[in-house]
């Protein structure tokens, strides 16, 4: 059996079923609230959900049983001395490489760390205090730290992606940070500004665990790969119907294998040509293959959000994504064929495989 955590605009859906057929709703938690992200920490099996009430604000919840009661974490919240900021949204919760360590990325763009399995959280002040921060500007979804890439086996090395403030790298456990801007081309700013701007709109970023110096990045208008830990980036979008998009999966067992779901353009954020297709590369971005067998192939204009594409880590790789139409799709054979996991859910914000 496979278990999915599907965040939506109206709560968290826990879906369970056998790959190939429809899944059942095992639980719906936080009805009425936006669940930005749901995930499960592999080390201790704890579940996390970032929940945003339109009235009562954002909070991080955790449980050992997603069909039961959830506890509220103490944080992430900004400390008192940062007196003009409050958390708008918790974009991601990412397990770290040391026992009990988790990271949370929030808007306005900040990184928080927990060392007690997510119960309490502390602001990473080094990233908060980088001198260029006053020049950072938000993307359409806010000034968001949404991608966190630990380095397998090395808790000191970390890469984070910020919309719209680029890639930031640390090799000392987050005590100091430097940019990883080189090669990213912000086509939405004038040519003469491109070398100096901080307005680098990263949409998603993932590390290849089997070759951790390699990262894949979905940018605002193109797709990139770095083979030098995020220092420099190479455009790999040729062969895609569009360079624009948000969701991304990197195969944890094959550093040449990655998946994106392009959207038409920033001014038309739907699947291109009315076809729902996942694009796979098996050669690290040298070429792309459309994977749409079993997906809507005509008159289908779906929007798949940033965190709404996940995998099961298996071999062959199981893939799952959800759309704002409330449909969830899955593939048990690394994208070769697809099936309907569920439909008629609320607009899907995130999809992660939890069991």
């Amino acid at each position: 059996m496979t278990e999915l955590l599907v965040g939506s605009k109206k709560g968290l859906f826990v879906l369970r079923g056998e790959p190939g057929g429809p899944f059942d709703i095992a639980a719906r938690a936080f009805p009425g609230d936006v669940v930005e992200y749901g995930t499960r920490a592999p080390r201790n099996g704890r579940y996390f959900a970032s929940v945003t009430s339109g009235f009562y604000g954002p909070r991080l919840m955790y449980t050992d049983d997603p069909t039961g009661e959830w506890e509220q974490a103490k944080g992430p919240v900004f400390p008192e001395d940062i007196d003009d900021k409050t958390i708008d949204r918790i974009w991601i919760v990412q397990p770290g490489e040391a026992d009990g360590v988790l990271y949370a990325g929030v808007a306005p763009a900040a990184l928080f760390t927990s060392t007690d399995s997510g119960e309490t959280w502390e602001l990473n002040r080094a990233l908060w205090n980088v001198p260029t921060r006053p020049e950072w500007n938000p993307g359409a979804g806010g000034l968001a730290l949404h991608s966190i890439c630990p380095w397998p086996g090395d808790p000191q090395r970390l890469a984070v992606g910020i919309s719209a403030a680029g890639v930031w790298l640390s090799e000392d456990g987050g005590q100091t940070w430097r940019t990883g801007y080189k090669g990213l081309v912000p086509q939405y700013v004038p040519d003469e500004e491109r070398e100096t701007t901080h307005a680098l709109c990263v949409h998603n970023m993932h590390r290849a665990p089997q070759r951790p110096e390699r990262l894949f990045l979905q940018f605002h208008g193109s797709v990139y790969r770095s083979d030098d830990t995020g220092e420099t980036w190479n455009d790999i979008a040729e062969g895609l119907p569009s360079g624009f998009g948000f969701p991304m999966v990197v195969d944890p067992s094959d550093p040449d294998n990655a998946y994106v779901i392009p959207l038409t353009a920033d001014v038309d954020r739907v699947t291109p040509d009315g076809k729902v297709r996942v694009f796979e590369t098996r050669d690290a971005g040298g070429s792309w293959i459309a994977r749409g067998d079993g997906l809507p192939s005509g008159d289908a204009y779906l929007t798949i959000l940033r965190q709404a594409f996940g995998h099961d880590g298996g071999s062959p790789l199981g893939l799952y994504f959800g759309a704002t139409s409330g449909e969830v799709f899955g593939s048990a054979d690394a994208g070769a064929s697809w099936f309907s996991v569920h439909e008629h859910l609320a607009p899907v914000t995130s999809v992660r495989v939890s069991g």
């Binding site: 936006v34 009430s53 339109g54």
Partner: protein
Amino acid sequence: MCVSPRRPRLPRMAVVMLRAPLKDRADGQGQVDLPGDSLGEVLRELERRYPRLEGWVLDEHGTIRRHVNVFVDGERGTEDTSISADARIHVLPSISGGSRS
């Protein structure tokens, strides 16, 4: 001259009315008597007494959340609103809230 001893001043008590989901996080109490001279003090005492409400009405800087309305004896209050003895305080979601969802 005879000076009468000053009596210790007791904090004013207000009655705070809660609805779901706040009531659920206050151990099911829909009406809570709380001390405080200002609305901010009363709401901080509410969080102290019911830690599961922390961050729900006040943000991390002690400010009433933008989409929460707090009424003191029928008037919209702020953190600095004075609390009279036996004030009745209603904590309600704003009709402007929830627009993202």
